[in-house]
Symmetry: C2
Subunit: 330 residues, 2 copies
């Protein structure tokens, strides 16, 4: 079970060996068999589509579910239909292969997310990347962008810059800023704190995790479409024979520090073939020379641990490659 060994290696790097007990009994021997049943978990989406038979999968459907980024929190008396401001096809493209969940959705110009109000971090963030989107645009300067609170979230459940200050953690992007170079607005929106989770800086956010993000952009440059779902994990550890989930919370609003992060990537090459790559990285300083393929992990492990299903509209057996190691460069 090479991929299971890899995830164990990944989880144990840095000295903190995380239990993956509930995977062991279920991981299939062949990587191509590791995928779970390809079933849709987007019940709400399906049932609402019935409400508008003329728009079975059109943009109107998704606008019913999502708040655009600029929508401040408002009372029920004030709200009605909330205009979605992103390009008409942006969300459609992102959710082409399914919704991971339908809780507290927010749609931005070039990514969307589900927000975890209990932990003040995303549940998941979904992006659709193309060669054009990741091409460097000299006019857009990341250094001028600022982290901002998400005013569409009730103040009780909102992460703030103050929560991160002096915490020792970076404000880590889930949708990477450099994935969204089409417009100033698209990149600026990745600095919304709903797209952010506390990450170890040196050795992780600025190194190993950054390498994974760079690798995904390299994939996007060389392929037709890349779909990326990124988010936190809170994995348990053994202590005196029992399993415990343990994670730090920072700031007055108790922003959760994930123990790990996942990244699930579907690559559509220029021939239309689909490849799956799924990664788990522990949120800790990692050896600088670690290749990204050390963090490949079975998709079903991530799905169980995150409580999510990814890209469930892709039928089982469709992928021509699953968790094949990337070229040696990465």
């Amino acid at each position: 079970m090479p991929s299971f060994q890899r995830i164990c290696t990944a989880a144990c790097l840095g000295g903190s060996c995380i239990s993956l007990g509930f995977i062991i009994g279920r991981v299939s021997k062949k990587e191509t068999n590791e995928l779970p049943p390809r079933q849709s978990h987007a019940e709400n989406v399906e049932t609402v589509s019935a409400c508008n038979p003329l728009s079975k999968a059109g943009p109107n459907l998704y606008s019913l579910f999502t708040l655009s980024a600029a929508t401040p929190y408002r009372t029920s008396a004030e709200s009605s239909v909330i205009p979605v401001q992103q390009p008409a096809n942006a969300v459609q493209n992102m959710v082409k292969y399914g919704f991971p969940s339908t809780d507290n959705l927010r749609s931005y110009e070039d990514f969307m997310l589900s927000y975890d109000r209990r932990n003040r971090v995303p549940n998941w963030v979904l992006e659709h990347l193309t060669p054009e989107k990741v091409t460097v645009n000299e006019g857009i300067e990341r250094s001028k962008m600022q982290f901002v609170e998400d005013e569409s979230v009730h103040a009780f459940h909102r992460a703030t810059n103050k929560d991160y200050k002096n915490s020792g953690y970076d404000r880590g992007h889930m949708a990477a800023a450099a994935n969204h170079r089409q417009s100033h607005n698209a990149m600026a929106q990745t600095f919304t704190l709903s797209n952010i989770a506390p990450q170890v800086g040196q050795g992780f956010n600025r190194d190993a995790w950054n390498n994974l993000e760079k690798y995904v952009r390299a994939l996007a440059r060389k392929n037709k479409n890349v779909y990326v779902c990124t988010g936190p994990l809170f994995l348990p550890q053994y202590e005196n024979g029992k399993l415990f989930v343990k994670y730090e919370v920072i700031g007055q609003n108790h922003v959760a520090v994930p123990t790990h992060f996942f990244k699930v990537v579907v690559v559509e090459n220029t021939s239309g073939q689909l490849e799956l790559q799924s990664y788990v990285m522990p949120n800790q300083a990692l050896p600088l020379d670690t290749k990204v393929h050390h963090f490949l992990a079975p998709l079903d492990m991530i799905e169980r641990a995150a409580g999510l299903n990814f890209f469930q509209n892709i039928p089982k057996g469709t992928f021509h490659k699953v968790n094949s190691p990337p070229p040696i460069k990465y």
Copy 2:
């Protein structure tokens, strides 16, 4: 700040003093001022209602959001509109004062819930109680009922009886079985594992928590309507000057053992006056003589910790009583 002292007392009972740091700065001095802004957080509900203007708040609206209990997990190809099998007004009555959240909703004959797929326990369970519903019905025998898996949840995220077996924890009801005596089916559905969370048995589920449930039924017997929202909390503790959330997970599916449970109760008396009572209890053996009023806790503390908003359709200042101690008997 009497209510804050109470919650500290509650949290410290049993020797495990839980940090409530993020509450301290925000608890108002007067109980009547402790309520947060009364705002709706049910964005999805509002936006979907616009999809069907003829049914602004009718049963069709809610049927779009909820799966009935008997609906097995199915693929997107199989699902369309899912019939809701409970009495037409049951869900409407439960959500009269608002939805706590709109993630993974399940509606049963006499209660509804939001399921936490990551933790395999409910996010919250909502009930509407009346004198009739809690009246003992001799024909319905609780002892004959069995705990069952929720087949509407994907197998990756479903709690099973095997997970609880030999764990040392009770299968604790969120919607109490004895609150639903109208029919065999209504009570039997409370034994679905989506309505269950691991609870300490002796001293908690069978004692202190049971006393709170009995007290709520006593309220239901004496008043016109009682609305109850119940669920788990995962509260942080200080360790070496930092705050950590730590909780056990049990079984192959890693069912989370909550550190605490909340119960938020809105009582409408026969004059139509509304009273709010909100409780937090640590999931541990508690002294047998502890009165329920020791566990009264500010609503905003629960809302922040749970990532939820409760009964948000009730305007601020409407309650004629907030967290007034119950009679000495309890």
